[in-house]
Symmetry: C2
Subunit: 201 residues, 2 copies
Amino acid sequence: MKIYEKSPAPSAQRVSLFLKEKGIDVERIDVDIRGGENLKPEFKALSPNGRIPVLVLEDGTSICESMAICRYFEASHPDEKHLFGNTPTEQAQVEMWNRICEFQGLYTAFQAFRNLTGIYKDRETCIEAWGVESKNRIKQFLPQLDERLASTTYVAGERFSVADITAYITCQFIKNLEIDASTYSHIERWLDLVSARPAFQ
Amino acid sequence: MKIYEKSPAPSAQRVSLFLKEKGIDVERIDVDIRGGENLKPEFKALSPNGRIPVLVLEDGTSICESMAICRYFEASHPDEKHLFGNTPTEQAQVEMWNRICEFQGLYTAFQAFRNLTGIYKDRETCIEAWGVESKNRIKQFLPQLDERLASTTYVAGERFSVADITAYITCQFIKNLEIDASTYSHIERWLDLVSARPAFQ
């Protein structure tokens, strides 16, 4: 079993934090994304959408998409942490908050960063005005996250979950957009809490 | 238990098809989104991100995000259909393909539609050039989906899953962008197959 990734990339970090939380060690192979290694046929044969990270199982099955990789390990290595929630209500709350943090947070931040910097302009059309708008939307999202964290210990409730990993990665990534999430007091309290976890060292 | 929704909206339809597949009947209440009913404090108290659909449980817990609502019913009403997959590998493949169809399909189509039509310009900044680019990305995604469906019966493999619901809703929604997915022969074969299911009548 191997994971092909670009280790500093936010999506690789999501998988990495998840595996550290679960105490699972998997061989990693770095892929040169800037150099376009992921656009070559050998890599495309591994990853159905040509993106990293990709988990390749012993039987040759490839799994891309960070959350799909995390779900594979959650289903194959169930434990008492229940990072995707335990009861039906908790599972739904984790899925809800993970998605809110993805769509309004992480993916909006990706669109802001890619369109503003043109980092992949050799392979995609960038629209600077959409970068500006996406950055504004991130700024509108942070007070919502702060309000949520005013009433709960963790993002999805009273238990640490994959939604905290997504929100944490978002708060780290938006530093590239010169946005500091820790200026919000409840987010700051929560960032201190999750940053102290052994997996986050 | 109640679901607040706008019944013709793609996200409400995803939940609706999922519940029909599982044979679960839930009371529905229509919310006037165009009229801004979802922006009022009463609705915002129900939905953490002010969006529909929202499931409100008997104990008052609110769950928004379509996939979180579907996961609630999957966990509370498990059955032999395993719409989110059964084994760890299958669960991961369903999550992977559902996400590929969401990010490259449905959400890209939403961004194209909202930015091109300005349907919600009273509440969001629209960037027409991003609408054009998003529409181009949908057109680039369809051959990928077609290639996938050349080798598998359903989107995530040999079993019908929630990924088929997402892909089907995408194919329906992009008609609003004057894109006809059925011009791709493998997509056409699969659309005929899923459209014939009782839940899709």
